[in-house]
Structure formats: structure tokens, C-alpha cells
């Protein structure tokens, strides 16, 4: 493609020749597939929820897709310093909103996660998540080695505290896992890594002991005789799809699959398009993640490296956890499949994060 000449020194021209076009194409493919899947899976959900129109989720998904695309592209134009500024601003704004959830958020499904400024449903933690990864990367990169650890710990600890209070365990685990991956890349000693792993196990055991719903989910997962209704349905959908799928719009199990448009969109996709097509989706995710990590590895700048790694790990983990839950490899965990699940406002957060990732993985990107 010769949209821009090699010698084009304009912002767009430079962007085109430095941005990772493989990742960009991957995002585009996933977003398009997401539109198809929301078309297929959401009318049944809308009907079940007795919403005014069967197209409710489709319209909203498309409406959010436009600003999300703009956001992603705009963010990817930023230089690393711009990324850092954006992240700090976002952390300030959405961090404050996150705090306010503890005070103002109504209880929905047993947790205080969402607030409703201007009639919009917003989950601040979705936005805090990528911003935090960038900010901690900067805090760690300011000094050689791990000298920046105390400040980073403070930031992560504050966010995690709010998340636990909401409570939002999935987000907590994801945030901690991303931070752990960053520490790992930042050169944490193996002794400490072992310690962290121990703490993770202890934390999971603690959650198991403390939260009844976590306990119930894990018990259900371990006990082969009980199957959670959603997982049972998801398994039916996967089995019904087989290798080649039932065909577009031909899925039947999807009508009775709860959260078919969000948490269980992957099972819906298997039912309609088959395992082979979904293997391609897995491959696209894998390509994006590996491409991202390769790019980050080649990079000379520690901040870019840590921030990029954090954002890639975030995307990869979320995708893997969601698909694993859909395939009954893991206990159920409310987590959406990036780009493909019905998004709404969380799609904007994803666009922020992935836009920043694209910006950080541009050739020659460096903070100093």
C-alpha cells in the first residue's frame, strides 16, 4: 500500500511508516468480527431483557464503535510523552470516579462498579486499568533497577483497594497480574517472584475463604457433577457448532445462553462459525500479543518497554481468561472478550489502551 510516500514527513506519513500495521490490521479484523457477533448474539438478549427494540445493543455497539475507532487512531498518533500525559490525566479523572463509586454507585448484581454521569453507564475501573499500567511503567522506569517500586506499589495498592471494596475480583486479579508482569519484565529477582507467586496463591485462597460467590464458583468448577447453567449452555453451544459451525444466524443455543453478547460471545461464535473460524480468532489474538511483545522487546526505552508490556499483557490475559471460561477451562469470571464482546463505554476504554499500545510500539518510540 502506498498511501504515504516514504519521504512524507507529515504526522500521518510518519505514523503510517512507524506504526505496527500488523497489530492495527488485527484490531480491525477483531472489531469487524465483533460487529458480526453482536449482530448475531444480542437480539436474543435484548428480547429476554424486554428492551424496546431487538436492535438495542447493535445500535449502541455501532454508535460507540465510531468514537472508539477515532480514539484509538488519535491515541496511536501520540509520542510516548503524550501517552504518559494522557495516562496521568486519565488516571486522575477516572481514579476520582473510581473512588466515587464507593460513595455513589448503586448496587448492581452485588457490586458497586458503575456510575451514571450524563445518563451514560460508565465503569471507571475499565479506564483506570490501562492508565494505571502506563503510569506504573513510568514510575518504575524513572530509576535504574527497581528503585521506583515503592511509588508504583502505592499507586497499584490504592486502585486495588478500591476494586476490592467494590468488590470486583476479576478486575483486581487482572490489575495485579498486569503489575506482576511489569515487575517481572522490570527485573524482579527470582526470589521475589517466587514470593509473589506464593502471595497470589494465598490471595486466591483468601478470596475463596472470604467471598461466598467465589467459593461457590470454584466449587462448581471443581465438582464434575454440578455444572453452572451458563457454562453448561456454553458447552452446548460449542458442541452444537462443531468444527464448521451452524452457519451465520443459524445458532439455536445462543437464544438460551446468558450473556451471549458479552461474556459468552466466544461460545456463540463457535456455534455459528465453528471451531476452525474461532481458531483463526485465537490466532489473531496470539499474533497481536506476540507482535506487541516482539516490538516492545526491540525497544530501547525502559518506560516504553514496561508500559507496552503492561498493555499487551492486559489484552492477552483478558482474551485468554474469557476464552478459557467459555471453554470451561476456568471457573466463571465476568470478563469480556476484547473487541468482540458487546462493549458500550468499555469499548472506549479499550480504544484508549490499544491506541496507547500502538503509539508505544511505533518504531523508534522513546520517552527521552
Amino acid at each position: 500500500m502506498t498511501v504515504f510516500s516514504r519521504t512524507d514527513r507529515s504526522i500521518l506519513g510518519q505514523w503510517w511508516w512507524t506504526v505496527d500495521r500488523a497489530m492495527l490490521a488485527g484490531f480491525a479484523v477483531l472489531a469487524l468480527f465483533g460487529v458480526v457477533m453482536v449482530l448475531a448474539s444480542s437480539p436474543g438478549i435484548a428480547r429476554t431483557l424486554r428492551l424496546s427494540s431487538e436492535g438495542f445493543f447493535i445500535v449502541r455497539h455501532l454508535v460507540f464503535l465510531v468514537p472508539a475507532t477515532c480514539l484509538l487512531l488519535a491515541a496511536s498518533l501520540l509520542a510516548p510523552r503524550g501517552v504518559l500525559r494522557l495516562a496521568v490525566a486519565m488516571l486522575a479523572v477516572f481514579g476520582a470516579m473510581l473512588l466515587s463509586t464507593l460513595l455513589f454507585a448503586p448496587e448492581i448484581k452485588g457490586s458497586h462498579r458503575w456510575i451514571f454521569p450524563f445518563g451514560l453507564q460508565v465503569q471507571p475501573s475499565e479506564f483506570v486499568k490501562p492508565a494505571l499500567a502506563v503510569v506504573t511503567a513510568w514510575l518504575l522506569a524513572r530509576f535504574e533497577g527497581l528503585a521506583g517500586l515503592p511509588e508504583a506499589l502505592l499507586a497499584v495498592g490504592a486502585v486495588v483497594l478500591v476494586l476490592v471494596l467494590q468488590p470486583d475480583l476479576g478486575m483486581t486479579v487482572l490489575t495485579l497480574a498486569v503489575f506482576a508482569a511489569q515487575l517481572f519484565v522490570a527485573g524482579l529477582g527470582w526470589f521475589w517472584i517466587a514470593g509473589l507467586a506464593g502471595m497470589a496463591v494465598a490471595g486466591l485462597l483468601g478470596a475463596y475463604a472470604l467471598f461466598p460467590h467465589v467459593q461457590a464458583r470454584i466449587d462448581d468448577f471443581v465438582d464434575p457433577t454440578t455444572e453452572v447453567y451458563q457454562v453448561e449452555k456454553a458447552m452446548d453451544a460449542v458442541a452444537s457448532g462443531g468444527l464448521f459451525g451452524k452457519g451465520p444466524g443459524e445458532g439455536q443455543v445462543k437464544f438460551t445462553l446468558p450473556e451471549a453478547h458479552s461474556d459468552f460471545v466466544f461460545a456463540t461464535a463457535v456455534e455459528e462459525y465453528g471451531a476452525l473460524a474461532c481458531l483463526a480468532v485465537v490466532a489473531v489474538f496470539a499474533t497481536i500479543v506476540l507482535r506487541g511483545l516482539v516490538r516492545v522487546q526491540a525497544c530501547e526505552d525502559r518506560f516504553v518497554q514496561l508500559a507496552g508490556a503492561g498493555l499487551v499483557v492486559q489484552l492477552g490475559l483478558q482474551a485468554i481468561i474469557n476464552m478459557a471460561v467459555n471453554l470451561n477451562l476456568m471457573p466463571t469470571k465476568g470478563m469480556t472478550l476484547p473487541f468482540i464482546s458487546y462493549g458500550g463505554s468499555s469499548m472506549l476504554a479499550l480504544a484508549f489502551g490499544m491506541g496507547m499500545l500502538l503509539a508505544l510500539t511505533r518504531r523508534g518510540a522513546r520517552l527521552r
Partner: protein
């Protein structure tokens, strides 16, 4: 692209970070790989091919399409499917419900108000009419209503109509089994060939069944019986060649038939079978060694147990030999036999080993457990000895008798075809000698005892009559109401088949001199069945030597001088009145 750049070493922490990032990559590759592996495993593994058994709930919109056929043992079709169409609607897509309801009701002969209510209730799926005719199909197509469609459906068809009704059972709206083998073998039938299931082959033989039904129906009508059951049982494979319960029904329209017609009187009803039980009592006493064919029993006068008198219907008012007591169906003789053992536990154990203490294992859903006495004082032992105070289903009964005349081993019966190699080894009940003695006693009974109405020229048969007073719940034994039965062994010198005919409350007529005895009502039916079914089953007429061998065991008692005990084995001692 340069994957692992090393063109500049950079700082130590950058180098270390590169190594760590490689570890992260490996972890992600592994994770994505296992997700992909799981995906393929789930869609090609056992779960994907596992047959999804349809719910039996009505109206869940998932009719069983391609349900497996049911064949008789020779391959004659007993149940199959007819491809038809059903009219369905997506109410949310029907534009003008009033107009649509009016036109559809007109074309299909439906209730317009109900149809309109259904269309207005909304939802995405509604049955309008199941299984329509080609004419109705053309009408619906011509209407061209949006939101109304035809869906391929199937109608379960039973070409033999009433003939095999109780064994087959029938299916419901979604072709799910509701009775008979259709219900019992639901999992085996559902889905049919699409799920890799071939037709289900029964042990029933339509030709035999036809004869049995015709002969039994004649008697059923002639004697104005309340019900009848007739069975032809293969004693070697222990399979039911024929099972007829009257009155019966047409499974094609089962739900419109009276529910009493749908009851299987062979498996779902229990009867006190009276003298038919004397087979068990005699076999028990002989096998226990408590009596031999040479023993004599005092039947010269009614026997009192407490103040309960026991009479004989065909009383001889003298001492009877054991074969006489059996052939003349002496109640007193049976009580004398059970007296010789006088151990309720052994009696119960014997009946239990014959399967008479539990529900038959036959593959029919409507089987009844036997009605057993709660306590076993001597009076119970005595009444059970001649078949009262215990009620069993005819199916249970033939399974038990077959064990005594085949090889002395009990095996559960089946209505599914099975070869000799598939017959289970079974549990031993009696010794081979007892089996020989029982065959001979049964021959004796048809040859010159109460079963002589079933004596045939062509085949050497054996049999036993039974006429049991009928107990009605809450009223005790009802005068004049009897269950008349006859069990027959064919051929008796080397048994292949058992025939059981049971008539529930037959009324005697002039030709039977008003008798309702099994010998007068049921035995001729059994005789007709054997006469006609024998050639169908390829059974050669019994050679004269077979009869000679039977008669050789028959020797009129010289006198009651006690010498008979020295008579050599195989030469029984029977004294028979002229």
C-alpha cells in the same frame, strides 16, 4: 523483521527485560495453544458426538425427527415415520394477527379465537397445526402469510394397527415415547439413523402374534371376558414371540382410545392364577426331595386348617399319587405336599429364585410387582400352594414356568430379539431331574387330566389348567368371578415354546355347559394357537416314539401294597380312574 535484536546491548536492565519478555512470549504461546487445543477437543471429542437426549416435556419445539423404526423379529415394520409438514408461526413477524388468524382457521379448520390469542401473545415460535395434509399444505402456501411457515415434521405410523399395540406403546406430539417399548427404549430410538441407531428389532413375530390375537379375540368375545392375555414365549431364548392383551387399541390414535384399552394386562395386571401355581408347588416339593412321584397323598376328605376347609374341584375322595394330585389339580394334594416341607422360608426362597418376588425385568414400562402375602403362617403356605393369596403378572408367570421346563435355570425374559448366544447364563433353580418330572407331569395333565381339552394329535403337548376365584379390592373373593387360564408346553418332550392364555372373568355358555373352568375356556384357545402356530414356527409333528416314551413312564399302580417304591427310576406310578 528482526525478532531478537542484539545490535546494542543497552543497559543491564534492558538486557534482562528482553530475556523476561521472551519468557512472557513463551507463556502466552502456551496459553493460546491450550485454548486452541481445547476448542478442537470440545468440538470433535465425546461431548460433540454425545447424543443429546431430547427432553420429554411436551411442546418444547423439538420433535424427534428420524426416530428409529421398530421391526418384528423377521423384519416386518411395526413402527416407522411418515414425512409430513407442520404449520408454524413466528408471532412477532405476523403483521395482521386478526386477518392471519381468520384465514388460517378457515384453511386448517382451527378455532379462530384460540389461534388469535396465540398469535397475539407474541414470542418467536408457535405451533399452528401439527402434521397437515397435502391439501392443507397447498392452502397455507396460497395464503402466503408473512411469519407463517411450514416445518418438516414426522408422523409416527404403526402399519399393523392394533396387532402389537401393547408391546409397541405409542408416541406423543413430539414423537417422544409415551408407552410400551416406545417409552422403555426412548433413548435407543430417539434420533434414529442420524445418531447412528439402526432399527430396533423385537422378538415379537407378527405372524404368530396374528394367530394368537385372532384365537384369543374369539374366546374373549364369546365368553364376554373383561380382559384377556395370551403369550407365546420362547423357552430357549426366553423371548416373547407374541404378547396379546385384550381389549387393545390402535397406536396410531392411542390418545383417543379408552384408557382401559391401553392397560397391558400381561405385564401391568397381577392375577391370582390359582392352579397354575401347582406347577411351582410340585416342582418345589420334588426338587426339595420332600416327595417323589411315587408318594401318595390323602385327599379322601376336605382338609381343615384351623376352621378353614380346603376342597377339591375335581374331588376323587381317595388317596392320590403325586402325579394324580397334579393332573387332577387337587388343592388338598398340594397342601399335603407343602406340609411335607413346612418351611415358609424355603417356599419363599424357591419362589424368589423364580423371579416371582420382584417386578419382571422385561423391557416394558408398565410392569407390576407381584402382590405378596405379608406374613407366611401355614395357612398362607397352603393357599400359595394352590395359587391363592399371591398375585403375579402373566409375564412374571411365564418367565418362572420357562425356568422349570427348559433347563432349570431362571433368566429374565425380553421383548427384544436375541440369539441363543446372547441369552444370559441365568441362575439355577431346580435340578435336571425335576425338569424331566415336570415335563412328564404336564404331559400327563393334557393327556388324561384336567387339560385334556388341549390334547392334540399333531404335537405332544403338556399343560396345566387354572381357574382362580377372583378377589376384588375391598370385597374379597367375588362369587362367579374367575380368572381362567391355561399354560401349555410345546412340544413337551423337548420344550421350545410356552403358551399362556388367561381370560379375566369369562362367562360360560351352553357349549361349555356353563363351566368357566380354564380347561373349558382357555385350554381350547391354547390348543388352537398351538395347532396354527406350530407350522409357522417350523415345528415338525411329534414322532409317535415321543408319545411312547411318555407312556412308558406311565404304569397303573398295581395296588397300594407299598411295592411301588422299588419300581425302577423312570417308571412312575400313577393310578388313574377310568
Amino acid at each position: 523483521m528482526v525478532l531478537f535484536a542484539s545490535r546494542d546491548a543497552g543497559t543491564r536492565s534492558l538486557r534482562r527485560a528482553r530475556l523476561r519478555l521472551r519468557v512472557l512470549m513463551a507463556v502466552f504461546v502456551l496459553a493460546f495453544f491450550s485454548v486452541g487445543l481445547r476448542l478442537v477437543d470440545l468440538t470433535t471429542g465425546a461431548r460433540a458426538t454425545k447424543p443429546q437426549v431430547l427432553s420429554l416435556r411436551r411442546g418444547d419445539g423439538a420433535p424427534d425427527i428420524g426416530r428409529a423404526d421398530i421391526l418384528d423379529r423377521r423384519g416386518v415394520t411395526l413402527a416407522t415415520n411418515l414425512r409430513v409438514n407442520s404449520v408454524i408461526a413466528d408471532p412477532s413477524r405476523v403483521n395482521f394477527p386478526e386477518r392471519a388468524a381468520h384465514r388460517l382457521a378457515d384453511a386448517l379448520g382451527l378455532n379462530e379465537a384460540a389461534l388469535l390469542a396465540r398469535l397475539k401473545r407474541g414470542g418467536r415460535f408457535a405451533w399452528i397445526k401439527r402434521r397437515i395434509s397435502p391439501r392443507e399444505e397447498a392452502l397455507v402456501k396460497d395464503l402466503g402469510l408473512p411469519g407463517v411457515a411450514l416445518q418438516p415434521d414426522e408422523e409416527r405410523v404403526y402399519p399393523q394397527k392394533n396387532l402389537v399395540s401393547h408391546v409397541l406403546g405409542f408416541t406423543g406430539d413430539d414423537n417422544q415415547g409415551l408407552a410400551g417399548i416406545e417409552l422403555a427404549e426412548q433413548d435407543r430410538l430417539v434420533g434414529g439413523e442420524a445418531k447412528g441407531k439402526g432399527p430396533l428389532v423385537l422378538s415379537i413375530d407378527v405372524a404368530v402374534q396374528n394367530v394368537v390375537r385372532e384365537a384369543t379375540m374369539k374366546a374373549f368375545l364369546r365368553f364376554h371376558a373383561k380382559g384377556a392375555c395370551a403369550i407365546v414365549f420362547d423357552t430357549r431364548t426366553r423371548a416373547f414371540l407374541s404378547l396379546v392383551s385384550l381389549p387393545d387399541f390402535d397406536p396410531n390414535r392411542a390418545t383417543r382410545e379408552p384408557s382401559t384399552n391401553r392397560q397391558n394386562r400381561c405385564s401391568g395386571h397381577t392375577y391370582e392364577l390359582g392352579s397354575l401355581f401347582k406347577i411351582f408347588t410340585t416342582a418345589f416339593a420334588l426338587d426339595a426331595g420332600a416327595a417323589s412321584l411315587f408318594d401318595r397323598l390323602d385327599a379322601s376328605q376336605p382338609l381343615y386348617i384351623g376352621r378353614h376347609p380346603i376342597h377339591d374341584d375335581h374331588a376323587k375322595f381317595r388317596w392320590l399319587t403325586v402325579p394324580e394330585a397334579f393332573a387332577f389339580s387337587s388343592n388338598i394334594g398340594m397342601v399335603r405336599l407343602i406340609q411335607k416341607v413346612d418351611d415358609p422360608e424355603r417356599q419363599k426362597g424357591f419362589l424368589r429364585r423364580l423371579g416371582l418376588f420382584g417386578t419382571s425385568k422385561v423391557e416394558l414400562p408398565d410392569t407390576r410387582p407381584p402382590l405378596l402375602p405379608r406374613r407366611w403362617p401355614f395357612i398362607t403356605q397352603a393357599t400359595v400352594a394352590y395359587g391363592h393369596g399371591i398375585a403375579v403378572s402373566p409375564v412374571n408367570y411365564v418367565e418362572a414356568v420357562a425356568s422349570l421346563i427348559d433347563d432349570g435355570r431362571f433368566r429374565p425374559g425380553t421383548v427384544l430379539r436375541r440369539g441363543l448366544e446372547d441369552v444370559p447364563p441365568g441362575e439355577p433353580v431346580v435340578a435336571a431331574k425335576t425338569v424331566r418330572d415336570m415335563r412328564w407331569l404336564l404331559w400327563l395333565t393334557t393327556d388324561r387330566g384336567t387339560g385334556d381339552q388341549a390334547r392334540l394329535d399333531r404335537y405332544l403337548t403338556g399343560g396345566k389348567t387354572g381357574t382362580a376365584d377372583k378377589a376384588v379390592y375391598g370385597r374379597g373373593y367375588v362369587k362367579g368371578a374367575v380368572v381362567a387360564s391355561f399354560v401349555s408346553v410345546l412340544p413337551v418332550d423337548d420344550p421350545r415354546y410356552l403358551v399362556l392364555v388367561t381370560l379375566d372373568e369369562p362367562q360360560g355358555d351352553a357349549a361349555t355347559h356353563g363351566f368357566r373352568y380354564g380347561g373349558w375356556t382357555a385350554a381350547p384357545v391354547a390348543a388352537e394357537i398351538i395347532e396354527r402356530v406350530g407350522p409357522l414356527l417350523g415345528l415338525e409333528p411329534s414322532p409317535p416314539e415321543a408319545r411312547a416314551r411318555m407312556e412308558a413312564r406311565l404304569q397303573v399302580y398295581p395296588a397300594m401294597n407299598g411295592h411301588s417304591h422299588e419300581t425302577e427310576e423312570g417308571l412312575a406310578a400313577v393310578r388313574l380312574d377310568p
